[in-house]
């Protein structure tokens, strides 16, 4: 009604103050009759209610300016910097074994990828672009995004999680605020495993919503990107501040319990060709490194499996192995039956539900979205059809997600009931972030450094 009123006012204004000569009268009649129909904007192309004038004073119409986007050459430079930093990080972690050098590189990454490049695009978020491009035929992943996603994975397959050590700006920010190099709040193993489940669920949901083209939730809920941009959503800023405050006492909470990309890196790091070792040569089991890891990633040597536990453990393992398919099936069923809820993440489904409620008179009033939909003049039935197609997609993809979560829980239970035998202090292959803090705790490392120094001096004297 208000709009109609405006139109009346508009037309009366128009008649009173009409700027063009009466010569155009015929065309006015035409445009006036158009005006009420196109009262709501966005309904189509521009309506020429007032014909552009012909100027007599020699006035030149300015052109609409179109400032160009950032040159893509800079993005290629980002990709090259990423590859160089990844290589350098791997070298520093595995060959040079210097925490100080790793730290300096980490600060560089924080400044470059974080504050200079504003933390976007990052490998964590790039996961979603890859998934979207697999499911959406029309979406093409930009080269740089593909490089950002793939290169840390390949490096991890060779060298372990050296990406987490000194390249990832999110990790660097948390590592930077971590006060206690050791002896901070240590999270018990069972709690760590439990909390980490969230990261798997998060990855699954990110894949689900990216695959259906609903949203990029990793980007939406990235807690640190607003620090890099020094602006952003207030709630997310508070979330990021919480992570950083917790991160002062508990090492890298986002990396360990939330990061969905870390989930992929963990699995690849398990089978990496080379990896971080605490000692440069042999473990003397001096226990000095025991408390050096702020991420709880050092595993101590184990005794033999106690004989009275053996039978019980075997039964438990068998039970969990039988349970595994049940968990997968349950998860899959749950994931697919939640499609009504999960599909609301998609704009079209939300809009269709809203329009349905309005059409059937269950709610009063309209939203911006439903107004915009009405302005397109599309049939509500068509919209419902689209929405139910999209919802149908959520079924199979959701059951995959649920099955994946079931599989993860099952494997975790199995993993916890397998007795692993270790004779040395070793970093956990999956959890080790390759930060290099443990190196200097090892007495063998000091021997190595001393030998290296003597060898250097020896060379210096002989030359």
């Amino acid at each position: 009604m208000i709009r109609f009123g405006y139109i009346i006012i508009g037309i009366s204004f128009f008649l009173i103050f009409c700027p063009a000569p009466i010569v155009y009268g015929g065309r006015y009649g035409l445009t006036l009759s158009l005006a009420p129909g196109s009262g709501s904007i966005g309904a189509g192309s521009a309506v020429e209610r007032f014909p552009p004038p012909e100027f007599e004073s020699g006035y030149q119409q300015p052109l609409t300016t179109t400032p160009a986007p950032r040159q893509s050459i800079y993005e290629y430079i980002d990709a090259v910097v990423l590859l160089v930093v990844l290589g350098l990080s791997s070298y520093l972690v595995l060959k040079k074994r210097s925490r100080r050098a790793i730290f300096i590189l980490m600060v560089f990454s924080l400044v470059y990828f974080g504050f200079w490049r504003k933390g976007c695009v990052c490998p964590i978020g790039a996961t979603q672009n890859i998934v979207l491009s697999i499911f959406d035929r029309d979406y093409v992943v930009p080269v740089v995004t593909a490089v950002f996603f793939l290169s840390p994975l390949v490096f991890t397959l060779f060298f372990g999680r050296t990406f987490c050590a000194a390249v990832c700006p999110l990790g660097a920010l948390q590592d930077f605020v971590l006060l206690s190099a050791h002896g901070g709040v240590s999270v018990p193993n069972w709690l760590e495993s439990g909390l980490r489940l969230f990261a798997y669920v998060y990855l699954g949901m990110a894949v689900l919503f990216a695959a259906t083209g609903s949203a990029f939730i990793i980007c939406r809920y990235d807690p640190f990107v607003s620090f890099f941009r020094l602006s952003g959503n207030f709630n997310i800023l508070v979330l990021g501040a919480c992570f950083l405050v917790v991160g002062v006492f508990i090492g890298r909470p986002y990396c360990r319990f939330v990061c969905p990309y870390g989930v992929i890196l963990r699995q690849l790091s398990r089978i990496s060709k080379w990896r971080v070792t605490i000692t440069p040569d042999e473990c003397v089991k001096c226990r000095l490194c025991e408390d050096s890891c702020p991420f709880g990633a050092i595993r101590e040597p184990t005794a033999n499996w106690p004989i009275y536990e053996y039978g019980k453990g075997k039964k438990r393992l068998a039970f969990f192995i039988i349970l595994l398919p049940v968990l997968i099936f349950l998860g899959g069923w749950l994931g697919s039956s939640l499609k009504t809820v999960t599909s609301r993440m998609h704009d079209t489904v939300r809009l269709a539900e809203r329009v349905y409620l309005e059409e059937t008179g269950q709610v009063e009033g309209t939203t911006d979205a439903s107004l915009a939909f009405r302005a397109t003049g599309k049939e509500a039935k068509e919209l419902y059809g689209e929405a139910s197609d999209i919802r149908a997609q959520f079924g199979p993809v959701g059951s995959l997600l649920g099955g994946f979560v079931g599989l993860v829980i099952g494997l975790k239970l199995i993993g916890l009931s397998v007795w692993r035998q270790r004779t040395d202090y070793v970093p956990d292959r999956a959890s080790c972030l390759a930060c290099g803090r443990c190196f200097q705790y090892c007495p063998r490392e000091h021997v190595r450094l001393k030998n290296a120094k003597e060898a250097r001096q020896g060379r210096g004297e002989s030359s």
Binding site: Y6, I9, G10, F13, F14, F17, P19, A20, L30, A35, G39, S40, I41, G42, S45, A46, V47, E48, R49, F50, P52, F55, S57, Y59, Q61, P62, L63, T64, T66, P67, A68, P69, R70, S72, K118, C120, V121, C122, G125, A126, Q128, I130, V140, P142, A146, L150, V154, L157, C219, R220, V225, S226, R229, S231, I271, D368, A369, L371, A372, T376
Partner: protein, 188 residues
């Protein structure tokens, strides 16, 4: 002893094949992406024909001053003396007084060209992308004012937070070599 070393060898073999499989999988993803590759870097842009000027652009951008600004397609403009993008619904007077203006930041400049035409230009350093003038111009005028993402400001986030909040689906990815969707003259 022999049995034991066999076990270790088997484990190594399994692990190596798993490693190879992972590498092959990553290679597969690379191949897939390469096969799909077309030279299309994308940027975010508003389709002015879908935009309803709801005002979300002013508030949802991650930048403190939104990357979305109002632009003016002069070729469509009627150069009206009474511009509904410039004046509020009921102006006190037809002049440039602040009390008559619709724009909350006074970003539109009104200059006399020749009788009875006035030119309207937008000062982008003041514009906040709220779309009030766009709504006015589209409802009563020619629709020569419309919102566009200005790429000298836009960070080109992986997920645009304005796009996520856009009620009409007007925010979309467009090829980087055609980064603007400007309104065209629509002569009948």
């Amino acid at each position: 002893m022999a049995e034991n070393s066999n076990g270790i060898a088997r484990r190594h073999f399994l692990k190596d094949s798993l490693w190879g499989a992972c590498l092959a999988f990553l290679g597969g993803i690379t191949g897939f992406l390469v096969s799909k590759f077309r030279k299309t870097e994308t940027v975010w842009q508003i389709d002015p024909y879908k935009c309803i000027a709801c005002g979300n652009c002013a508030t949802y951008c991650v930048l403190e001053k939104s990357a979305v600004k109002c632009v003016h397609a002069y070729a469509i403009c009627g150069y009206c003396r009474i511009c509904f993008g410039f004046f509020g619904p009921e102006p006190f007077d037809i002049n440039e007084g602040a009390e008559n203006q619709l724009c909350p930041t006074g970003a539109i400049k009104r200059t006399f060209v020749e009788d009875p035409y006035y030119e309207y230009t937008i000062d982008e350093s003041l514009c906040i992308g709220c779309g009030k003038c766009v709504k006015g111009c589209n409802t009563f005028g020619n629709g020569s004012l419309f919102l566009q993402v200005r790429h000298d400001r836009c960070l080109n986030c992986n997920e645009c937070s304005i796009a996520a909040a856009c009620p009409s689906g007007a925010h979309k990815r467009v090829p980087a070599n055609k980064p603007y969707i400007l309104k065209k003259v629509d002569h009948a």
